[in-house]
Symmetry: D3
Subunit: 135 residues, 6 copies
């Protein structure tokens, strides 16, 4: 079994805030992450399956790059995440972001390829903090 990964980058701002909480409760739960701040995010998308016999590819990584740019990077890069359509009603923690990305990427990837399955989405918020989602 083979696992192939493509890494992309985007820079966004966000603020962690639950509208059902009071300001005090938001500050207690989220601390300084309740302020407007931002990150350079790195996303790593991993597919799994058996490579195609003729090309030796599970999926051409240029295609996976194109999918990631169209579905994710173009929509979140240099944006305020709390106002991006895909996060409507969702607190953009790294945990939630990986799940939202999974739900967008899974049908697109599997419609592009009969052999590749989405295996994991890893999202680095900083060099010291990251989250992986496996469905």
């Amino acid at each position: 079994m083979v696992f192939i990964t493509r890494r992309e980058h985007f820079s966004s701002s966000h603020k962690l805030d639950n509208p059902d909480f009071s300001p005090e409760k938001n500050y207690e739960v989220f601390g300084k992450c309740n302020n407007f701040h931002g990150h350079n995010y790195y996303i790593e998308v991993t597919l799994t399956g058996e490579p195609d016999k003729d090309s030796g590819y599970l999926m051409d990584l240029k295609i996976l790059k194109k999918i990631l740019l169209e579905e994710i990077v173009d929509k979140v890069d240099h944006k305020f995440l709390n106002e991006v359509e895909m996060f409507k009603g969702i607190i953009p923690t790294t945990e939630h972001m990986t799940e939202v990305f999974w739900n967008i990427l899974k049908p697109r990837i599997e419609s592009e390829s009969p052999i590749a399955k989405l295996y994991s989405i890893k999202l680095y918020e900083t060099e010291k903090n990251w989250v992986e989602y496996r469905g």
Copy 2:
């Protein structure tokens, strides 16, 4: 299922030496690692579970950072590992270190959180050598 990771750093010295071996046998088994030397270690701790509905966090990574500093980094940073309490009677190979850290972190993490389980401890001795322990 979500996996969250926090990375921390410490700088320590150690020496690989089995007191049941003769000096010759120690040198034969451990080579130059039998000398008194040191490393910049990087530890990555991964938890798994379902994020909390209200905060969107599996565990606030500021809390995981605090646990790592209190339980591990403050006890081993700028120390001679062979003389640190947690390694009493244990040869501080990277394999053993991950297991010792697991036994310390598992109860502490699980007492701090009803939803997060310890999944893995990864320890980098150099950029080219590392060990992961999964219980």
Copy 3:
């Protein structure tokens, strides 16, 4: 001559916008950087001089770390840079940020040490874009 460097990190949001420009002109000049977005910034501060004979240090890097945290990181980390006091009336491009940091750090460093001079401030906005200021 010796040059010593300390690296620190902060995560902030900003928006490039000149209040003397029309919205159209701002978008033409700054493009997507005119949107509210954010970065993980890395700052590297370099001092130069001859090390002290007794300690072998030009400056203890724990002191340089303390200065950086107090003067810079604590004031900009998890903040919206356009509203931070030190950037009042200043467009927070990476070029301007290094100059503002230089003007804050130079007197503080030189009052802490009779032997170390500030040599350079380097600021990484992303892994592919950075700016250095040398006074």
Copy 4:
């Protein structure tokens, strides 16, 4: 259960080309990868098992390094992969390379050690593209 990893490096050239395809079809399938080009590859080999009681090692990483240099790096570094013996009749995509390396390393590692099993081979073609093979 413990997982130990060793990372090594080699620089090679290759060209993705299926001799059963016409030149047009090759260019359509492989794009610019159909040209002669090259990479700095990073290989990470992971073994799993229970460490030896006396040494605290699953396998001395100096031995794993020696195996990697002899079996892989010495044969592919500064070579044109399409002409290297181990890739005879095989298109050297990253997917195929990990499988070829697995088939070479598995018997060698398991003949060197009664306790370590080969778990995974990860091969980085660039910082943004990589493949893992787990048998």
Copy 5:
């Protein structure tokens, strides 16, 4: 004085060979670099000057990126360097490559900007080997 840097990447193959040398002499001088092999190159281009008062930019790094892609990356990425026009009659050592890039970039950059001067070109052949050219 401000120094701004943009980093880009390309993957190419090459072979170090002086046509005036015998094959034996080429092997003696260049060793395994006389074989057809390849690298992931990283190029860092640094400009210097005083930032523009209105924009706060020395040069918008999106423009410097565009110049680098058009003048360098598009011409060498996924190519065999010995056959690329700009290296006609030149052995593509890292030293020579930086000088060729300097001669191409200097007039283009200085015709795009009245305030930015080319200061340095740094080219990484591997993580352990690199060359800088300063004119």
Copy 6:
């Protein structure tokens, strides 16, 4: 003018301690660095000059690698620096280490090459702390 750099690695232990100080004074000056601890050091050696016309090299980096291994790495890797001959009577701060390395490397490099001059020695103690010496 061209600048070429080679990077190498070693892992050592040390302790910062001035024998003319009392234990209290040593702890006051050096803090936790007064304990036995260790690091993964990275050394970067930069030479400058005009490349040779026939080879296109300032110095073959395989030769610079060999010099670094023989003169530095083999003598300090997996050693206790305070007891290494080259540091006799010298407190092994990063500042002092770069100066000691300079004094060893300068004559050796310049006797190996008529065209390359030693320009700088950079030594990373951690990812956040480093020192450069330029003679």
